[in-house]
């Protein structure tokens, strides 16, 4: 009587791969239809794109084994049916994409700056980095070193900024814009929340004005109007003028993000700081800002991604960033008509940077969440 019935296995269609497929792809007939359609499109598309970008593509030599030096030698020009992408244009122009027209003898300076940038930034991003304190000292002096290294001076031959280009300009604009806009944004955010009506109104007006107009008009402002504002004898080169515009633009967005962080700090923190006798600046520097900035870092990274993408706008005012060099390569008659290769490459470079930044912001958000929860428990 007390015979135990053996437990039966669940139906085959609900476990394992089959169960997963049924749950996620074929749960009802509409889903099945959609899944089959998407699968069909992907089966058509993925091999084609892989073939075009990798298997049928030329890198340095075409299918005859000749080294590609102009568009006529590209496989896709010789054989439009089977030829894939012609990456030779990137290969030939790689130097320009990375450094612009920086003199070849001096290019070690750019390379050194790239390496130092990595050393300066990575410890800043991860607070578990070994010897982080010492590295951060380097981060503070890095902008000065990089300025002299790239620009010349102190015994180094001077390289005019109109020779800079490609990734160099993109990174200089992005990094300098973010680095300068950060302190400016803090000041503006504090100013907007200030009790002094004049200061609060001026900061609010500035922030709302900048956020209300497109970046391109600010770049035009930097290019056409700024020279009119400056007294005689003061000359700013193109890069510096664009940097002014980019910094002003970014600082307004940064200010709003930091203001969000400031608003999230409970009133008790302000009152406690005041009650132990801290002055306004002491209160902000020692109590409020460290907390506010900590919680707004993910949003700061997100606006920085926006700025990094927006640096491409400088091609409209004539600077040659990564996209500008790409367009220059396309205008060259020896490489005419290879637009997709160039735009694919430039997109890829931007994607690598911005995707890494957005992943980092997600990682921070997750870390911040656990940190706050632990504090509350």
């Amino acid at each position: 009587m007390n015979e135990i019935t053996e437990s039966r296995k669940p139906p085959v269609a609900t476990t394992g791969i089959l169960g997963w497929l049924r749950m996620n792809l074929f749960s009802n007939w509409i889903n099945s239809l959609i899944s089959l359609f998407v699968l069909y499109v992907l089966i058509q598309f993925i091999p084609w794109i892989l073939n075009w970008t990798i298997f049928a593509a030329d890198f340095k030599y075409n299918f005859n084994g000749e080294e590609i030096i102009n568009r006529e030698l590209c496989s896709r020009v010789l054989d439009p049916e089977n030829g894939g992408a012609c990456w030779a244009i990137i290969y030939v122009r790689f130097y320009q994409f990375m450094y612009g027209f920086y003199p070849r003898d001096e290019v070690w300076r750019v390379n050194l700056s790239y390496i130092m940038l990595a050393i300066a930034v990575v410890p800043l991003l991860f607070d578990k980095f070994p010897f982080r304190k010492h590295f951060l000292k380097f981060t503070y002096v890095f902008p000065v070193i990089a300025f002299f290294l790239l620009n010349g001076g102190l015994g180094l031959e001077s390289v005019s900024t109109n020779k800079w280009g490609g990734l160099l300009v993109t990174l200089v604009l992005g990094c300098t814009g973010i680095a300068l806009a950060f302190p400016l944004g803090i000041v503006l955010a504090l100013g907007r929340r200030s009790n002094l009506p004049v200061i609060s109104m001026m900061c609010t007006l500035f922030i709302e004005f900048i956020r209300g107009v497109p970046l391109i008009t600010l770049l035009f402002f930097g290019m056409v109007m700024l020279p009119l504002f400056l007294p005689e004898g003061v000359n700013m080169d193109g890069l510096a003028r664009v940097l002014v515009a980019v910094t002003l633009f970014q600082s307004a967005y940064m200010a709003e993000v930091i203001r969000g962080g400031l608003q999230a700090i409970p009133q008790g923190q302000y009152e406690a700081a005041r009650s132990i006798g801290l002055s306004y600046w002491q209160m902000n520097m020692k109590v409020v800002l460290p907390q506010a900035i900590r919680i707004s870092i993910p949003s700061i990274v997100n606006t920085s991604i926006g700025l990094f993408k927006d640096t491409t706008l400088v091609i409209i005012v004539g600077l040659l960033d990564l996209l500008g060099i790409g367009r220059g390569a396309l205008a060259d008659t020896t490489w005419l008509g290879l637009a997709y290769e160039v735009y694919f490459f430039v997109s890829l470079v931007f994607f690598i940077f911005t995707f890494a930044m957005s992943r980092y912001s997600l990682y921070l958000e997750k870390k911040l969440k656990t940190g706050i929860n632990m504090g509350a428990d």
Binding site: V213, I216, T217, F220, M225, L228, P231, I315, F351, S358
Partner: protein
């Protein structure tokens, strides 16, 4: 006993002192800038003033769907053409991006694994590549379409070539205005019917077929009127004459590239706000409505969406603002918007940099303010009203 130094530790005095200092410095800075600018302008022989606005522009604008622009028209006309073009691409982009963004946002929450992945890849790729690059890429695809002579034909009335899309142009004849008035009246009355039906349902529980009555009023009734009057509408068909099409209506590749890029780029951002908005509605709401026996589509329409909208609308507003500001990138492909037409060509021809930039910036500020005003009103209307 108060010494003179203690003045400074008085908060009121300090506040007034610092504010006067800031105003003083600001005024001094403005004064300096105005002085140097006046000097610089004089040295470069640039006369200031707004007189250039009434000078003939002397250049042509290839895309001006609302105003018939000739090169003898003034710079002020250039400005209006630019504003209209900016608004045209912004409005079209906002509508299309909202539809696509909601679609992708909902897809990303669907149960179809494959579709979710594809939507995710779309969002990540378009968000992380600069918009300018996408605009230029779309444009370079569009201008590689076949030439006018070999243009792709659809039904013998649509022609797609590297000069744009040619389609028949509707010609409104006398009497069409009645149909137009009928449509407007139908819109107003269906709006009133909806209000009345809602009130009646609240009071008595009886339902009224609002959707079908609105359909009948807005579409069927004007259509009947249209045929009674005698079809006062004809089409002007494009025809190939010589090297180009004559007649019909053309949508230029610049516009299509701008529209596609702005829509696809902004929709990726909108889909993220839609997704987080829907996720913000707690699971209990869904379960509670399911236990009341509501249909799945009703749960979405009556329970989830109204609550999600409260979270979605504020970031949606800033996406609309972004799209409008991003439409200024039309200059990269030669779309004759405000920045390209007035802030670019007019500025270069007249040399009136300050005046042109001030006008352009003021216009964008006005557009931004109007958008946020309307969205704020809408936002207030959908917020939770406590009774």
């Amino acid at each position: 006993m108060r010494s003179k130094l203690n003045f400074f530790s008085d908060e009121k005095f300090r506040s007034i002192f610092f504010q006067t200092l800031v105003i003083g410095l600001f005024a001094l800075g403005i004064f300096f800038i105005v002085q140097t600018t006046a000097y610089n302008l004089e040295k470069r022989n640039i006369a200031t003033g707004w007189r250039f606005l009434t000078d003939p522009a002397g250049f042509d604008i290839s895309f001006s769907p609302f105003i018939d622009f000739k090169s003898t028209d003034t710079h002020l006309d250039v400005y209006f053409v630019g504003v209209l073009n900016t608004l045209l691409v912004s409005v079209c982009g906002c509508i299309a991006a909202t539809i696509l963004g909601f679609l992708v946002g909902i897809i990303r929450l669907s149960s179809n694994w494959l579709l979710v992945r594809v939507a995710y890849i779309y969002v990540e790729f378009t968000r992380n590549v600069p918009l300018l690059l996408q605009i230029i890429l779309w444009y370079s695809i569009l201008i590689q379409l076949p030439r006018v002579k070999q243009s792709l034909e659809f039904l013998d009335i649509f022609f797609i070539s590297n000069r744009g899309v040619y389609s028949p142009r509707p010609v409104f004849e006398t009497g069409f205005s009645y149909v137009f008035i009928a449509i407007i009246l139908a819109l107003i009355s269906s709006f009133l019917i909806r209000r009345w039906a809602k009130k009646r349902q609240d009071e008595t529980g009886q339902q009224f077929p609002v959707l079908s009555s609105a359909f009948g009023l807005i579409i069927i009734a004007p259509l009947i009127l249209f045929f009674i009057i005698g079809s006062p509408l004809s089409f002007d068909y494009p025809a190939l004459k010589g090297f180009n099409f004559k007649g019909g209506m053309v949508i230029r590749p610049e516009f299509i590239a701008m529209f596609l890029a702005l829509t696809i780029y902004t929709a990726a951002f909108i889909s993220e706000t839609v997704r987080s908005g829907i996720l913000s509605v707690t699971k209990g709401q869904r379960e509670a409505s399911a236990s009341l026996g509501l249909k799945k589509s009703w749960i979405m329409r009556l329970i989830i969406i109204p609550q999600a909208l409260r979270v979605i609308v504020p970031p949606l507003t800033s996406q609309y603002l972004n799209l409008t500001k991003n439409s200024s990138l039309g200059i990269a492909v030669g779309y004759a918007d405000l920045v390209h037409g007035f802030g670019g060509i007019s500025l270069n021809q007249t040399g009136q940099a300050i005046e042109c930039m001030v006008i352009v910036m003021a216009t964008y500020l006005t557009i931004s303010l109007i958008i946020s005003l309307f969205m704020n009103i809408y936002n207030r209307s959908i917020q939770f009203k406590e009774k």
